[in-house]
Each structure stands twice: as C-alpha cells, then as structure tokens.
Symmetry: C2
Subunit: 327 residues, 2 copies
C-alpha cells in the first residue's frame, strides 16, 4: 500500500516535469519562480490520495494536481501583494522582486493557467469537478475579503464564529475541495465525496488554528517565522479571540488596548505583555484542546468514509503529520 511520502513524491515529479516559463517572459518568469519555490504542496498531495482512496487512475488527476496548486499559489501571490508581505517561503515575494503590476497580471494569468490544467483532462463528471473548483475559488476570495474586513473592524468587533467562518473559507475549503475533486475523478458516490469534504474542512480548521498557535508559541527554528508576528501586526487570530472569551473585564481591556496600539509602544514590549497575558489565562492549553478536538472530528469523519482501510493510510499519515506539524 502507498503511504503519504509516495504521493508527495508523485506531486514533486509532476511539477518537475511541467514547463511554466513561456513568452512573454516578463509575464511567465514570476509564475515559474512562484511555482518552483515549492512549499509543502499539501493540496495536490491530498487530491492524489483522495483519488487513490476510491481506486482512481493516477494519470487522470495529474492535471488537477497541477491546477489546484497553481490556483493556491495564485492566491498567495495576490494575498502577499494585498498584505504587503515581503517574504514567502523565505524568498522575496513577486511584488517585491518585480513590481505591483507584475504581481497583479502574473497572478491573473496563474488563475487562468490553473484552468488550463483542469481543462486538459476529460472526465464524465467534468462540469461537476469544475464547479467544485470554481465555487471553492470564490469562497477563498470571500474569505480573504473577510480577513481584510477584520483588520478594519478591530478585535473587539469580531467574534470567534466570524473568525471560524473566515478561516473555513480562506483556508479549509481549498483542502476540502482538493479532496473532493480527487474523489470525483475516481467517480466516488456523492455520500463519500461529501464525507471527504467535511473531513477536509475540519482538517483545514485544525491546520489554521495550529498556525495561529505557532505564531505565539512556535519554535522559530522549526516554524521558520518570528514568534509573535501576529501580535506585532495586531492581526486577529484564534489566540486573541479565545483569550478575550476567557478574560476578566480587566484583562479584556488590557488585551484590546494592546491590540489597538500602533507605533506608540515598543514592539517587543508589546509581544511580551500579550504573551504574559496569554500565560495568565492558561491560553496555550485551551487552544491545544480546541485543536485536538478539531483533529478528532476530522479523524472521525475519515473513519466514516466507506473505503478500503489501507487506502486511508496516506490521509491518516498526513493528518497526524499536520497534527504534529512536522511539515
């Protein structure tokens, strides 16, 4: 039986075999750069594993694997432009390495390239597959808008439910969509594609909540990001929202004041004070409990899927790896 390493290697091979540069070079060089930066490529890996779960033909989903990852990278490219993020995967983002217009147009072209990949492969369920992909794409855009809205609204005006709805759209639906698309190519029945989709949603929520946790408590050397960057950026995440819920009125006031501060406070002092407040609230344990619950819900959904147990192994491995967050 295959393991998750097998599918990760397949995805690498698929990307290595593909040509992304073309003319005009000014348009395609940033696309080639972005798609060659690598990253974990979890989404196409999940798509392949979901296809195998229902006995699909791997050759049939190579293009969908390219398509889903190209789309994901398009969203990162435009998000980095909108968020003015200078680095991605430790390398300069497209808008800093080239310029803003290049980021806009190369991103647009990547979205169209994602479609080109999807449209290369015929399938009796093509319309359904493409609708799943496109509705996912729309939700990702909506999620990004909600995330940008939060910044304007401020911490006091965002609820945990608002936040979960946002990360569901911005992060979870694309994992869920990748799984469903893989299963659709294998002609899985609707009951199973829906279970797989729900599994992907919970996995995605857990994944994002963990990402939020790592910002406050991650090992910089392992995680590759500076601890507390969300705090420096006044970024609304699962951490301050959960802290607000647990806090006394006094602590609540303090946290809101800290998250409303701009340039009037030393950054490291601010990170220190927020983390101290989290410590007082025993926040790490609470968040870890929420993440564990979310992973457990995902695990149960995977159990419910009617498929060969051995075929579930790669997705189980992926889930446990994400849980331990070694990838």
């Amino acid at each position: 039986m295959n393991n998750i390493k097998y599918f990760l290697d397949q995805v690498s091979a698929i990307f290595d075999a593909e040509q992304f540069d073309a003319e005009p070079h000014e348009l395609y060089a940033p696309i080639d750069y972005t798609l060659r930066l690598g990253g974990k490529r979890i989404r196409p890996t999940m798509l392949l594993a979901a296809n195998a779960l229902f006995g699909g033909d791997e050759r049939q989903v190579r293009d969908a694997a390219l398509g889903i990852e190209t789309f994901h990278n398009f969203t990162l490219l435009h998000d980095d432009l909108m968020d003015r993020s200078p680095l991605r995967r430790g390398q300069p983002t497209v808008y800093t390495k080239w310029d803003e217009n290049t980021a806009v147009l190369s991103g647009d072209t990547m979205f169209a390239l994602a479609w080109r990949f999807f449209l290369r492969q015929p399938s009796p369920r093509l319309q359904e597959i493409l609708q799943c992909f496109n509705e996912t794409a729309i939700e990702v855009c909506e999620g990004q808008q909600k995330d940008m809205n939060f910044e304007r609204l401020g911490l006091a005006n965002v609820s945990i439910d608002d936040y979960l709805d946002m990360i569901r759209q911005k992060t979870a639906v694309l994992l869920a969509g990748a799984l469903k698309i893989g299963a659709l190519y294998a002609n899985a029945p609707a009951s199973e594609t829906e279970r797989l989709y729900t599994f992907g949603i919970h996995l995605g929520l857990a994944f994002q909540m963990q990402d939020d946790l790592l910002d406050g408590y991650g090992d910089t050397a392992v995680f590759g990001k500076k601890t507390g960057q969300d705090i420096r950026d006044n970024k609304i995440s699962f951490l301050p929202l959960t802290a607000l819920k647990k806090a006394t009125e006094e602590h609540k006031k303090e946290l809101l004041a800290l998250f409303a501060s701009k340039d009037n406070m030393d950054e490291e002092e601010k990170v220190h004070r927020v983390l101290a407040l989290y410590e007082t609230l025993n926040l790490k344990n609470t968040i870890e409990k929420s993440i564990a619950d979310e992973f457990e819900t995902a695990r149960k959904k995977l159990d419910e899927i009617h498929a060969d147990e051995a075929s579930k192994t790669p997705l189980r491995e992926l889930m446990e790896t994400l849980n331990g967050r070694k990838m």
Copy 2:
C-alpha cells in the same frame, strides 16, 4: 429577421435580470458597480448573434453572454489599476472609488464569477467551449503584458508587427472568442467556427486601429475622450508607428524625440507638434486606408461563412456601426 438592436436589447435584459451584489458587501459592491456601468456590451451581443447565425437556442447562451462580459470587465478593472486610469465610462474606476486591494480582489472574484456563469449551462461541447474561453483569457493577459512592455521599450524599439500582435491578443481575440463560443453552443462545424473566429480577429484589429485614430482625430463630444491623450502619455499606438514608417529621417528623429519627452515640454505644445507632423505625413488618410482594408477583410470572411444570409444581418450591422463608430 432579428437585427443587432434586438441582440443589444437582449443583453441589456440579461444583465438587468441578474443579481451581482452579495456578501461580503465590501467584495461584491465594486463588482456590481462595474457590471452596472454598462458600456456597449459588444462581446455578449456578438456571442448571441453568432449563436443565432447557426440556429442556436438563445436561452442556452444567456450565461455565456454574462460570462464573457464579466470577464471583459474584470480585465478592464485590473487594467485600470495597472494603468492608474482614474475614469472608465466617465465614472471613477474601482481602485480610485475604493482602493487598490479592493481592485485586486474584486477583480479576481469577477474572473471566478465569469466561470460560474459559464459553468451553469451544460453543453455537449462544454470542454471545447471552456477551453476556447480560457485560452482567450490567457491571450488577453499576454497582450496586456506586451502592451506594458512597449512602454519600457520605447517607440523606436517596437515594430508595427509587434503592435498588431499585441492588439490581436489584447483586443481582437476576445471578440473572436465571443463569436466562436456562441457558434459552439449552436454546435456549428469547426470550419465555420474558425471562419467566424477569423472574422472576429479582423474586426477586432480594425476596431482597435480606429480607436487609435480617434485619439488623434476624434470629436471629443462624440468620442468622450480628450483628443491627443495617447500623445500626452507617450502611448505607443498604430498612429506613431505608421508615422515612423512613412517619415523621412529628419521627421523620424523629431517624432522619437517628442515621444521620449517627459515633463520638459508643455503638453498642449507637444500634442500640437505631433499632430502637425502627422498632417505633414498625410497620416490620417494612410490610417483610414489601413482600417478600411481591415474591415474589408472582415467583411469577406463573413461572406465566406456558410449560413443563412439573413442571419448574418445583425453581425453586418454591428460591423458597419463599428466602422462608422457610432457606438
């Protein structure tokens, strides 16, 4: 028999019946604003007329009409951002009315909405239709990149062939693609969809060349743009490129110097000197001859199409209207 007015009215009715605003409002309000600004909506009108030309069912192409126009407006939205154009159809562009991030994300979402429209309608030739749409989209992006490259290259380093290749991709393929898609829904044979596509390419080239001409010689009151704006912007178009080809070495030098000037010359003085040079070269006549030739080529292609003569009337009317440029 229907005339072009009928199809223009149909397109208006299709847009009036559609709901574009949704949640989150911050994302969809600019989309609704853009799609309600109207404009000529030539592309969906051509799509409907092409479908009728081969006896298609009009109800089958309503969504494609929405899709092609939504895509076109997405490209305008992002082009206006990249070109920093403050006005479109006499109204503030999205990036000025809202902001740059809104323009990026609402544009991305419009591209996905275009796909949603296309994917709503089943067709036995869906894969072919969507491939035609998507390859067109990729060419439009490539054309926009080439246009941006020209600015960097400068007038002396762009040939007329480069320019025609650029406007073919940036403008003509979308008219051609709209026609072909309309015909594909009517299940027209490949020979005819290709003839129609070629008709659209020549029509598009003529249309853009005329747009270039109107910048230098248009009646501001009719055309709605200030005469000579391309000259003020040092914008490379069919006019200076044709002028260069006709010019003596001395005139060539003068024109290149004028198009290389930045803020060191009074704008109106510059427009005046360029137009005087065009006059010396008898440029207007030369350009009008080129445009007439291009319309004639288009006309011949339309003649060659095997379809009911009466059904060609709307497309002929559209062509002659564009030729007279009353729309």
